[in-house]
């Protein structure tokens, strides 16, 4: 078989929102772009985003602006965010939303005809641009159609729609190639035929999304196998803060087959309340000290807030996701859960059936068809589900360049830093637009300055040998079985509540599976063979799980998406520390690195008494850097 070879300026791995936005930017900068994705074009996990995209356009409450959004993002992340990413995100998000509208997106409207914005957990004002509860679909379709529009331009001008930008659907990348310490391309296989593909390119943008499939109960699709995290590690890049995983508080818990599927936070944004099996609206018990002046401590005030947001505090159902997930977990553990191990989420008492079907159409659909529950009449049963990884590739905020690997860029969920220890709902869709664009621009600037970097034959041979390995192995291990074992380990030992002893056990067990994975044998041939595909996905998930477990063991405190039963409090000294994962070809090691210090102008955006809850007295005295 002759090797399929392509030459591009930029290769983008992943065709979700971040990848497509990066592609548009690089293409508009005059570069040739390959978009490589594991699924069909337009199926990326971005379609699953329901609630909306957070941007301080101020269309519903004109008190909103980037500074308020920045503050909310930092609070949500418990001040572990890379301040510069949170700043860029808050400043640029409105432009990214308005730009989508120019490309044909049709968001829901306010009475004045502007883009409507809805309330969401942790956001001080109504901030999420949305289309019912299918905002992610609107975003991906708009980006997809923008790509097609640019291809139509090329067809008109050059007679070839794919001259400057081509989508390689159903291709898995197994290795990022380097020569002389810099990016030279990427290597992989076509899922359809199993035949191998070489991309030669001086810049690679990783936009592969998340790692949810490492866990047993997850809202993520099969694609969320941490490919980009692992590819980056193997290429010599670092991952930052991999201990932080977001367990979305509301996944479906029943029937078994749909366990983990997301129930959008919009249900709570639109007035849904959480109750336990005793009928108690339990969230009032779980308002942490740092949020006590922002959330209502009684039902009457919480209910009034929906009508009058200026004079009442928010209902505690709208606390950041980590708080709500932990609260639900505690209720269930205390024996106040539902029959199927969740709690009740009810929107039927506040909204009419008609309004529910209009504002939450896919939720109605999902519960009616998969669980036989009519959410306009009865409550949903919900519980935490692994939803999002805050940790990811360590990048330079302005260019999205991966630290330590010239020519490598990362954006979207696969990049770390932006969300700190916990992401606010709605910040993901704008994250991937803001940093997708910046990664596309960063890659374009890099290529213009550096030029081509040819791939050597030796690198090609090495990459090819790796793909052949599972077919020649006679070890007899089954990839599906190993994947299930890994999911049990992460679920039981690296899940929502962790302890040092369990994490130590997890690290040993993950290493054992990793050893056994070297003996995976595949049945059948290369043609669209899911067993073969899983062998590679599993290798990635194992690296991610190792990185997460090791980072989690080191962090002896509880913060955001990392809860240690043996270290239950948040600790200001730990806030100053990032955990950096690197890979030596054999194992992942973690080192501590100081968190970048908030500069004075951003420090001054906060009330100093609020910062005292998060920072050491020495930091407060210093008042930010410079």
């Amino acid at each position: 078989m002759t090797l399929e070879k392509h030459k591009y300026d930029v290769v983008i791995i992943g065709a979700g929102g971040a990848g497509l936005r990066a592609a548009v930017e690089a293409r508009e900068a005059g570069l040739s772009v390959a978009i490589v994705c594991k699924s069909l074009f337009g199926k990326a996990h971005t379609v699953m985003a329901e609630g909306g995209a957070a941007a301080s356009m101020g269309n519903v409450n004109d008190n909103d602006n980037w500074m308020v959004h920045f503050r909310d993002t930092m609070r949500g992340g418990k001040f572990l965010n890379h301040y510069r990413m949170a700043e860029l995100h808050a400043k640029e998000a409105p432009d990214r939303i308005w730009e989508l509208e120019m490309w044909g997106a049709l968001f829901d409207r306010t009475n004045e005809g502007k883009i409507s914005q809805r309330n969401f957990g942790g956001h001080e004002y109504p901030r999420l641009a949305h289309v019912g509860d299918r905002t992610g679909l609107e975003l991906i379709r708009t980006m997809q159609q923008r790509i097609v529009a640019l291809q139509q331009q090329d067809a008109k001008e050059h007679g070839d729609a794919e001259k400057n930008m081509k989508v390689f659907a159903e291709v898995t990348i197994t290795e990022i190639l380097k020569e002389n310490g810099k990016i030279a391309g990427a290597y992989g296989y076509r899922r359809e035929s199993g035949s191998e593909v070489l991309f030669q390119a001086p810049a690679v943008v990783i936009a592969t999304g998340g790692v949810g499939k490492t866990f047993k109960i997850t809202s993520n699709s099969w694609e969320g196998t941490g490919d980009g995290h692992a590819l980056a590690l193997k290429a010599g890049a670092n991952l930052v803060d991999m201990e932080f995983l977001q367990f979305h508080p509301t996944g479906m818990v029943w029937p078994l087959s749909v366990k983990g599927i997301l129930v959008t936070e919009s249900v709570r944004g639109e007035g849904g309340i959480l109750t336990n099996s005793l009928g108690e609206r339990f969230m009032f018990k779980y308002i942490p000290d740092v949020f006590i002046d922002k959330y209502a401590d009684n039902e009457a005030e919480a209910d009034r807030w929906y009508e009058d947001q200026d004079n009442n505090r928010r209902p505690p159902e709208l606390l950041p996701r980590d708080e709500v997930a932990r609260a639900i977990n505690s209720e269930v553990k205390a024996g106040r859960g539902t029959e199927h191990g969740g709690v009740f989420l009810d929107v039927s008492k506040r909204l009419s059936a008609e309004v529910i079907k209009k504002r939450l159409p896919s939720m109605w659909h999902q519960f009616y068809e998969l669980a036989g529950v009519d959410i306009t009449k009865e409550p949903m049963e919900v519980g935490p589900t692994c939803h999002y990884v805050m940790g990811g590739v360590e990048v330079e905020p302005d260019s999205a360049a991966a630290v330590g690997v010239p020519g490598l860029f990362a954006a979207g969920e696969v990049a770390g830093g932006m969300h700190g220890s916990n992401r606010l709902g709605g910040n993901s869709l704008t994250d991937l637009l803001v940093f997708g664009r910046r990664a596309g621009k960063g890659a374009a600037d890099y290529v213009k300055a550096n030029g081509a970097n040819p791939v050597s034959d030796a690198a090609i041979e090495k990459a090819a040998a790796k793909i052949e390995a599972p077919f020649t192995s006679t070890g007899g291990e089954n990839a599906y079985t190993l994947h299930q074992e890994l999911q049990e380990i992460t679920h039981n030992l690296v899940g929502i509540i962790r302890t040092g002893a369990e994490l130590t056990e997890a690290i040993e067990k993950i290493a054992d599976i990793r050893k056994r994975s070297g003996n995976i044998s595949v049945t059948g041939d290369r043609k669209f063979n899911p067993g073969f595909h899983l062998a590679f996905d599993l290798d990635n998930m194992l690296l991610v799980a190792e990185s997460t477990a090791k980072s989690a063991l080191l962090r002896e405190e509880s913060r955001g998406g990392h809860t240690r039963d043996d270290f239950p409090g948040m600790n200001s000294t730990w806030r100053q520390v990032n955990h950096i994962s690197s890979f030596d070809g054999d194992k992942v090691s973690i080192k501590s690195q100081p968190l970048p210090v908030l500069p004075k102008e951003l420090f001054d955006l906060f009330d100093v008494h609020e910062l005292e809850k998060y920072m050491t007295s020495a930091e407060i005295a210093k008042g930010g850097s410079n």
């Binding site: 379609v47 356009m57 730009e99 120019m102 299918r134 679909l137 694609e223 078994l256 749909v258």
Partner: protein
């Protein structure tokens, strides 16, 4: 395990293939995609199937279940009687690649043939003002998850490969209708091109596409029929016809 299921799964490729009998356990509340995954993990490691979200939102796991075009992730096993054998086959309108996976590239080619939205000249980001009622008509069509079940069931192409060249199919009629009803789109003659370039005239309104749409988009009533009526207005109304001729003569003079 709640019950034992008997399945017949089509296995093969572009050259040869046939139905294979499989017996597998099924739990309460499971959907057909769960069963396929169990078969994959325990009996047929290389059984090819596309899927992504498993929540009816991405439109990847389209196949035919007992001859009906469906999403496997939204099809409850319990909806079939205990003793019924469930037959699972790939989409019929598209060429098989392997097992339940078909080559749907036809659809991406057709997408490329529809001109993108054209914004009013000089309009800047942040400026558009639209009323909710005005965006809702297009929003209905933008719910489409591109599962291509409507394309698969449409009799114009289901068993007529020769029509594919001149017929874009229901998925792309709603795309054209969406742009045609888009409050800001400035490109004219979208309906006319639907008729002349995308084969709208082939459709004889049997509504099969609407029936299989998992998003319950009223493809025929809200997109196809309105476009057909408007096209008919312009094409067959004698007064308009005369008007167009007179105008043309004036242009000649």
């Amino acid at each position: 395990m709640a019950r034992t299921l008997k399945l017949r799964i089509w296995r093969g490729d572009d050259k040869t293939g046939g139905l294979q009998d499989v017996t597998v356990e099924a739990n309460h509340g499971e959907v057909v995609l769960d069963i396929i995954h169990r078969v994959q993990a325990t009996q047929m490691g290389d059984l090819a199937v596309r899927w992504n979200c498993k929540a009816g939102k991405c439109g990847s796991c389209s196949m035919e279940i007992n001859g009906k075009p469906r999403l496997a992730c939204m099809t409850q096993v319990a909806s079939y009687p205990e003793d019924e054998v469930i037959t699972i086959t790939p989409l019929r309108a598209f060429p098989v690649i392997k097992d339940l996976v078909t080559d749907v590239s036809f659809n991406y080619k057709k997408a490329m043939e529809i001109p993108a939205v054209v914004m009013p000249e000089g309009m800047k980001p942040g400026e558009p003002r639209m009323q909710q009622v005005d965006v809702e008509r297009s929003q209905e069509f933008r719910k489409c998850i591109e599962c291509f079940l409507c394309q698969n069931t449409c009799h114009v192409i289901r068993d007529h490969e020769e029509n594919k060249k001149s017929f874009s199919g229901p998925r792309f009629f709603i795309r054209i209708a969406e742009l045609d009803m888009h409050p800001l789109d400035m490109l004219r003659n979208r309906k006319k091109t639907a008729q002349e370039e995308h084969g709208l005239g082939f459709c004889n309104i049997t509504k099969c596409c609407t029936e299989v749409c998992p998003e319950h988009i009223k493809i025929t009533d809200n997109a196809i029929i309105p476009m057909k009526e408007r096209v008919a207005d312009e094409k067959y109304d004698p007064v308009r016809w005369l008007g167009s001729k007179i105008r043309r003569r004036e242009e000649v003079l």
